[in-house]
Amino acid sequence: MKLLALAWKDLRRQFRSGLLLVMMLGAPLLLTGLLDLAFSSPAGTPEIATVTLAVADLDTPPAGAPVAAGRTLVAALSTQALAPLLKVVPVDGADAARAMVARGGAGAALVIPADFTAAMLGEVPSASAALTTDPARPLGAGVAQDIVRRALDSLSESALAARLTLQRVDGPAAGSLATQAAMRVALSAPRGATGGGVVVEGPKGSSPSFVARMAAQVMGAMMIFFVFFTGAYGASSLLREQEEGTLPRLYTTPTGPATVLGGKFLGTAVTLAVQIAVLVSASALIFGIRWGHPLPALLASAALIVAASGFGVLLLAFVRTSRQTGPMFGVVLTVTGMVGGLMTSTFTNLPAGLALASRFTPQGWAMAAWRLCLDGRGVSAMAVPLAVTAAIGVACLAVGVPLMRRRFAQGVPS
């Protein structure tokens, strides 16, 4: 009865504080919302902005040349199919094209050299087009580079066909045969129709879109990050109560230390449970996050609660006044959270060192458990991270609780 009154009192106080509400619920949802907004798109795939390509066509075909390769290239880059990706803007001169990139007006500049057609016709061994890209927009630069390279390659193929023909045949007919070979390549059936190529398959098994999965991972990470703050805050409220005189006053009532500390634990645990429940359901509603099966989610929540409140109790041993709690918790929980991979939950291909380091933090293990839960895995697959997360929490409690009892079982610090 008293235990419940104590826990209920703490719960009410926590959910009345604007700052705590921001930290417990507002911040994780806001951060996930921001990232969701950043990367979601109607198509469900990453959106790449259209790149503006400034093109300076300096190509001067030799007299009587059957083609103007420069113009062919520009035309190939300006097709309707490429329009969503690339916007070709013809400019006069190489300098003007590069200046446009330097100004930020174009993502890339292509300079087609004077001997472009000549190289195509084999009159010079090779010609090099120059692509200047904006270093501040590497993604767009990559797109432009890929498109231009493919277009150049198909021109190269024709030229190669002509050259190889010339190597095979001699005599007066050689020239026309070479042209014929080049034409054959240029006119060969569009890609894919001849068979070959790459058949792309999505991995089997239902899996939400990348953005949805990313939002889920960010939400999971942010939830863990801020749940640890709440756990630490809950433990430190004991210190505040001691300073504000309500803890000594509690000990003047017929209420023992076991009940008071127990009530504090219960209050913190319930606060954490409410925080997790609200975040899980709110994010499911707002971002459509699927949190996995109920039992694994429940166990992951329980392990998280044990770890977060245990870590909080342990941290409390290192602060003397409640004024110190803010900076101390802020620094320790941010650093351990960061090392635990909570800020980089969506990064793939992390350096091995960082992945290993995350296993030395409670947050890293909690995240490992939640990741599996978000993947829809069962309890058995999650057994190790669940057990380790909870074990870390229990170990922290084993160290922290005796210290806490010694410090707070008496009303007045002596």
Partner: protein, 403 residues
């Protein structure tokens, strides 16, 4: 002189707080280092950031081996043969992100290609992920080269099949065409724009070119907590009202507080920039004048935000809560965490309503394009305009209700 006295008092209050060192310097340094480490780059010295491509080569021909080499040389993916056990879990491997993609080369692929009737390879990849897209693109480009070679071989054979002029010389096969590709008639040379026109790939974007300015912008906001706190405490304890009863003009009082905030944030940003320049290889000195202008504009804006917080927050708790929210929203939306280029169209539209996005634009202009003052002028002016607007709001509020 009174101005300096007020600013000096604020500064002492801020710096006496031992948390100042943590908030202003240690945290941003830790974040910068961490994100610099975590963000994959292709630059020298960093870990292998190529995407892992699982390979199931049932063909084992010379051509398939050549394809594997071509993929490895592409720079984008790192092909790795899968073992028999893994072969049974291809979908799982991709879905879990253990591999960016898995490529199956069917038996007889090389022979079919050489015989002029190419068969497709199969790529299992999640195209909704950036890694999946990039993998698909890399594989497609490599396979396309082989198909192209086959087309060329086909065309040459077709054009010369009836020609006596061939003199019995065999038509080139796919391997021969691939060989000829080593000296293509048309090539593409890529450069990065900016001072010196660096060849692409040499030293594109360093790992800290995003993390360092990003964390500077983020923590310029976070560091305001302390300065804004001084102002709020002063209002709460009525010291501000008391100051107003002295023969010190209100403008001087407020300017004194603003000056202290500016000094704190400026010192913070300069230290972080110096660290970036000398310890992390971020070239803030690429254009010292532009960096200086940008730094000053950023700090003026940040202190105007501090004044705004200090003027409107009613308690120390609110200062902390609002600074946190401001930090998250402004640095997240402003591109301090990831380049805006990688974000959605909607996001990019929102972003430039944030002064932070302009600050990041300015820093990227300097660091990556080596842009001079002229090209940073726009971000600088936008930041100053935001600062002016914030200051008008803050001063209006403080003048009306000093407590």
């Amino acid at each position: 002189m009174k101005l300096l006295a007020i600013a000096g008092k604020d500064l002492r209050q801020v710096l006496r707080d031992r948390r100042a060192f943590i908030f202003l310097l240690l945290m941003p340094l830790a974040f910068t280092l961490f994100f610099g480490l975590a963000i994959p780059t292709t630059g020298a010295g960093s870990h292998d950031a190529r995407l892992q491509l699982g390979l199931l080569d049932a063909d084992g021909s010379a051509l398939s081996t050549q394809l594997r080499r071509a993929l490895a040389d592409s720079g984008g993916v790192r092909p790795e043969p899968l073992d028999a056990v893994q072969a049974g879990y291809v979908d799982d491997l991709v879905r879990r992100g253990d591999y960016a993609g898995v490529l199956r080369i069917p038996a007889g692929w090389g022979a079919a290609l050489a015989g002029g009737a190419p068969e497709p390879v199969t790529l299992v990849v999640d195209r909704s992920t950036p890694a999946g897209l990039a993998t698909a693109q890399a594989v497609d480009a490599a396979v396309e080269r082989f198909l192209g070679a086959q087309r060329v071989a086909n065309a040459v054979a077709g054009a010369t099949s009836n020609s006596a002029a061939a003199g019995g010389r065999p038509a080139p096969d796919v391997a021969a065409v691939l060989d000829a590709w080593r000296a293509p008639p048309l090539t593409l040379a890529t450069h990065l724009a900016g001072a010196g026109e660096t060849p692409a790939g040499a030293a594109a974007e360093g790992p800290y070119d995003q993390a360092s300015p990003g964390m500077i912008v983020q923590f310029a906001i976070y560091g305001l907590i302390l300065s804004a706190m001084v102002l709020v405490i002063e209002r709460k304890q009525r010291a501000l009202a008391r100051l107003a009863t002295t023969p010190t003009p209100r403008a001087v009082i407020l300017a004194g507080h603003a000056l202290a905030m500016l000094a704190v944030v400026l010192a913070q940003v300069l230290v972080l920039e110096a660290f970036g320049q000398w310890a992390l290889g971020v070239n803030y000195l690429a254009s010292p004048v532009a960096t200086a202008a940008l730094t000053l504009a950023l700090c003026v804006w940040a202190s105007s935000l501090g004044m705004l917080l200090g003027a409107f927050a009613r308690s120390e708790e609110q200062v902390v809560a609002w600074s946190l929210v401001a930090m998250f929203v402004l640095s997240g939306l402003g591109g301090a965490w990831f380049p805006l280029e990688v974000t959605s169209a909607t996001f990019r539209r929102f972003a430039h309503a944030m002064p932070t996005a302009w600050a990041m634009d300015g820093f990227r202009n300097v660091l990556l394009r080596g842009a001079g003052l002229a090209q940073t002028l726009q971000p600088v002016l936008v930041l100053l305009a935001f600062a002016a607007a914030f200051l008008v709001l803050a001063v209006g509020r403080l003048a009306r209700r000093p407590d």
